[in-house]
Symmetry: C2
Subunit: 332 residues, 2 copies
DNA sequence: GCCTGACATAACCGAAACCTTATAGCGTTA
DNA sequence: TAACGCTATAAGGTTTCGGTTATGTCAGGC
């Protein structure tokens, strides 16, 4: 290291400053120097100069200037990427220092879809906060898994917890499967299907279904199951992510839906509202897992949280809804 | 990001400077402020002040001062670790810029043991340099795999290529197996064993063996093979990494050794010097692979090199020494 | 052709950053 | 106990950094 470091350090380390990098990030983020200037509460020339300095330092044009603002050149994009990493590394560093000073303090930023936030997460959060009372948990909910992943990539959240597709092929992210969650075809307890002791998927083909939007993890099992029996996937009468909406519709009308075990347990605590239908079809259980950034180890607090979540898997998968998954008996 | 960034940036980003970080790294590296001062060509108080500034900025004692120098506190160690990452990120950034400016230029720093440097590497290097003539390859040889891994961890090299133990459990590193290399028990062509058409491992137990030091990847297969037959591992008369030494001893005396296929091919081009003995024992082939830092993607040049190495696997494993591995015929 | 929005340049200024030399404190060691 | 090695502090000087206001340049919309 020492061999090249001296030379390199003098050429770059002294010229590239954190401030310049930060200005670059702001400019790219806001799309124009003027906007960045107002957001950083400095004058526009200051920004202009900082960017110019940086460009001189690295010897490459970083931004394309136009009358309507700026767009980063490929060079700029690269430096933005690295700049984000640099600042994140720093942030993680001082974060780690604070954690070292008081290992019970810290902050974990979690991203998750509604289904997890309502089902699994509370259990984990409860244990975690009891174990580390001074720890702060920030939970960001997201409508779609895609935007969730972007938040993870942009380092707005430390980890994501949710149902993950398999194989998991998101660029730059890595997933750890916590457990497999059974899926149930569910109708309201008052539904005419609820009384049946046995029924086939084909019988349900014409029903009114509540599904999630296509391309989402939860929507494919239904289509796959129907397809496996040579049936057309059912027509979705309602398409929504909201489990509350679903639950309400199921409980009060004749809708049918596919919901994960944890949701069934949550909404059906007294087991009088919903009923898992004894359909003769096998659904691939849905993997639930934790997604983190590849190429970067999580903060110590995040690691604690992950460990906590992992340690809860056993208690989760021994609940009735999980163990009964293979037999597809009614859960009501 | 913007939510916390403003606040955070003002508190830390403005106080922690790259220079201070760099000073900290140097001080820790050299073990004392005075030494760091001379190495950085500044006066000692400058160093002292920089460290004090940094400590004030992060609000934690980073170094334990003693009359004989300094040792980093846990806080210091953490910040050193992050500091290294920060500088590496920066270096990678400008490196990427240069690569972007001229994708044929660049530098790949490779670490590997002698066996690879002599056997596999030349082939890869030849293709790689032909493909990217302006690329600079730095090859650092290491005696032991352990020190090799340290170089990788310290970011002195971009990647390591060598025989890797399986399972691969090095903390913070990840390995990709390129191919499996057969192992041969070899003696000199003049050896009395060379004339035999068939022989057992037990017959060789009393011979004079050349082995690598214990705990190294290459030494265990021999011990394992003997152990599998209920035999005591042979006594190593010569213990060395040097393949040249080995080859010389094998060719001129009655030594016996275990060498990988690529070495056999290299030293036995005309097939008159060494002879692979037709022993009735199966050796687990040794995986050869590329080790990189986990949690960090390699530089674009390094990626090119890895791709190149990967693409050469096919041509390598179709050479006679490789394909014959299962039958254990003589290779001479 | 004339505004307008957006960035670049110039001139200038204060604060801080960074360096130096000199000196003091303080364990270790001869 | 004196010398030595290492670090901290003080005092003082340059440099440069980060910022301002004022002004220039340039492309496009009306």
């Amino acid at each position: 290291m020492s061999g090249t470091s001296d030379h390199w350090d003098r050429r770059i380390g002294r010229r590239v400053t954190l401030r310049d990098l930060h200005v670059l990030l702001a400019v790219v983020q806001w799309g124009s120097m003027a906007k960045a200037a107002t957001h950083l509460s400095v004058s526009q020339p200051a920004i202009s100069k900082a960017v110019a300095d940086l460009e001189r330092a690295v010897g490459a044009r970083l931004l394309d200037r136009s009358p309507s603002g700026i767009t980063p050149t490929p060079f700029g994009s690269v430096l933005v990427k690295r700049g984000l990493a640099v600042f994140d590394e720093l942030r993680q560093g001082i974060n780690e220092l604070e954690f070292l000073a008081d290992p019970t303090t810290g902050e974990v930023r979690i991203g998750c879809p509604e289904s997890i936030a309502a089902g699994l997460l509370p259990a984990v959060v409860e244990r975690f906060t009891r174990q580390y009372p001074k720890m702060v948990l920030r939970v960001a909910q997201a409508q779609t898994v895609t935007s969730e992943f972007n938040e993870l990539r942009e380092r707005t959240v430390d980890l994501m917890i949710g149902r993950i597709a398999r194989p998991f092929t998101e660029e730059g992210l890595s997933a750890e499967i916590l457990f497999e969650e059974p899926l149930y075809i569910v109708a309201g307890a008052q539904s005419r299907w609820a009384k049946r002791r046995k029924l086939t998927l084909a019988e349900l083909a014409g029903e009114r279904w509540i599904l999630t939007p296509p391309n989402e993890v939860l929507s494919s099992p239904v289509a796959a199951a129907f397809h496996a029996q040579g049936l057309e996937p059912p027509h979705a009468t309602v398409v929504s992510f909201s489990f509350h909406l679903r639950n309400h519709l199921l409980a009060n009308t004749d809708f049918i839906s596919l919901i994960p075990a944890s949701m069934l347990r949550l909404f059906n605590a007294r087991q009088t509202v919903l009923k898992a239908l004894p359909v003769d079809t096998k659904f691939e259980p849905l993997p639930v897992g934790i997604v983190t950034r590849k190429n970067q180890q999580p903060s110590p607090e995040a690691q604690l949280f992950i460990d906590c979540a992992r340690s809860m898997v056993d208690t989760i998968i021994t609940t009735p809804e999980f163990t009964k998954s293979a037999t597809h008996k009614t859960a009501g």
